[in-house]
């Protein structure tokens, strides 16, 4: 081996050694969080993660069960919007396979052509755009909230199965970083409460564990659907941080990360959470 080749080899070896360690794969991240929560909350059955705060409070659980019909009006409003005929005679239902049945469990999903993460709300707006209908505001509970309440009710009881292909791992990683980043004047991270403090009480209410957070949205509060991103925006305000807009890349990545964590859990849409 000539001296020049040896130098090249040495430089290559140094460059490889200097590379940052690759981020853990989504499956490894999920397994680590599952193991941590299992050791923190050994009494919690795997299926109960989808119950959220109600898993830790029999009173909350009983109240939610007693108000099982609390979502009826919202879901009916969403169903009407879902079936409404566009000017071209089509409808939102015609944009999705099986009229929307069992589709919500696979969202958010990576769009390989657009190279971005697509949430259910984005898919709804994409359908409206394709049919030259006015787009909906992702943060409006009366329209988009009601539609997600209905579409997700069509997946009720089916297991969440969000895929993170290799090309989408950086979006998952961005969502993970966001979840663990301390933000706002109060210096909280999402993980401060929902991982470190999972099962404990903040302001009197039990804190839902990270796994399961994405399995039970929207929930119904004061007769309106509260989506996962709406809930995250409320949390950010409580943390003293300016909330990212609904549908922003930051919240979409966070939703992608959180939903992957809930893979395998049964989707439970439209639980009642107070008058």
């Amino acid at each position: 081996m000539r001296f020049r080749d040896a130098c090249r080899l040495a430089i290559a070896a140094w460059a490889i050694a200097a590379l940052p360690a690759p981020a853990a794969s989504p499956a490894e991240v999920k397994a680590e969080i599952e193991a941590r929560l299992r050791s923190q909350l050994p009494e919690l059955e795997p299926g109960d993660y989808a119950l959220g705060p109600a898993a830790f409070d029999p009173e909350l659980r009983a109240l939610a069960d007693a108000n099982g019909d609390g979502a009826k009006a919202v879901v009916a409003r969403g169903a009407a919007l879902w079936r409404r005929r566009f000017r071209d005679g089509r409808s939102l239902a015609s944009c999705f396979p099986n009229g929307g049945r069992r589709v919500a469990v696979a969202y958010p999903q990576y769009h390989p052509h657009l190279k971005r993460v697509f949430t259910l709300e984005m898919a709804v707006n994409q359908c409206l755009k394709a049919h030259k209908e006015p787009l909906l505001d992702n943060a409006d509970p009366a329209t988009m909230g009601a539609i997600t309440a209905y579409v997700r009710s069509l997946s009720d009881g089916y297991r969440i199965h969000v895929r993170v292909p290799m090309a989408a791992e950086r979006f998952f990683e961005q969502g993970r970083r966001m979840y663990f980043a301390r933000m706002g004047q109060r210096n909280f991270a999402c993980a401060s409460c929902h991982l470190q403090g999972a099962g404990k009480r903040y302001a009197g209410a039990p804190l839902a564990p990270a796994i399961g957070q994405a399995a039970r949205w929207p929930y119904i509060r004061a007769g309106e659907a509260v989506t996962l991103q709406a809930q995250i925006r409320e949390c950010l305000e409580r943390m003293g941080a300016a909330p990212f807009p609904a549908g922003s890349e930051e919240l979409n990545d966070l939703e992608y990360f959180l939903t992957y964590l809930s893979n395998g859990l049964k989707l439970r849409a439209n639980a009642w959470r107070g008058p």
Partner: protein, 112 residues
């Protein structure tokens, strides 16, 4: 003239109350200030009862064992001693000024 006099009397009656800074107990509870009750419980009679347990229960004996200076340091920036703590850095992030921190310290020090 009589109206002006009445207004002055009314102001004098209202101003001292309005200028009164919030007490340590109020700062401890207020959501825009300490909001300590969101995470901690205090002994019965020392504040509203709650079920929060994200942070430890606060007992007077423990507070007095820590001492005022340590309590002040914890309230100013608890992450300095424990980077993993969930507790907000009240002084460092200017949620509370030093006089407000002092009033909360006195409240904690006097807990039963």
């Amino acid at each position: 003239m009589r109206g002006a006099l009445l207004a002055a009397i009314a102001c004098a009656a209202v101003l001292p109350a309005a200028a009164q800074p919030p007490s340590g107990a109020e700062l401890f509870a207020r959501p825009d200030k300490g909001h300590c009750l969101a995470c901690h419980q205090v002994p019965a009679g020392a504040g509203p009862s709650n079920r929060s347990d994200l942070g430890p229960r606060l007992e007077g004996a423990r507070m007095r064992a820590l001492g005022r200076e340590a309590l002040r340091r914890i309230l100013f920036d608890p992450t300095a001693a424990n980077p993993d703590t969930v507790m907000p850095p009240y002084g460092r992030h200017r949620i509370l000024d030093s006089a407000e921190i002092d009033r909360i310290v006195e409240y904690l020090y006097a807990l039963p």
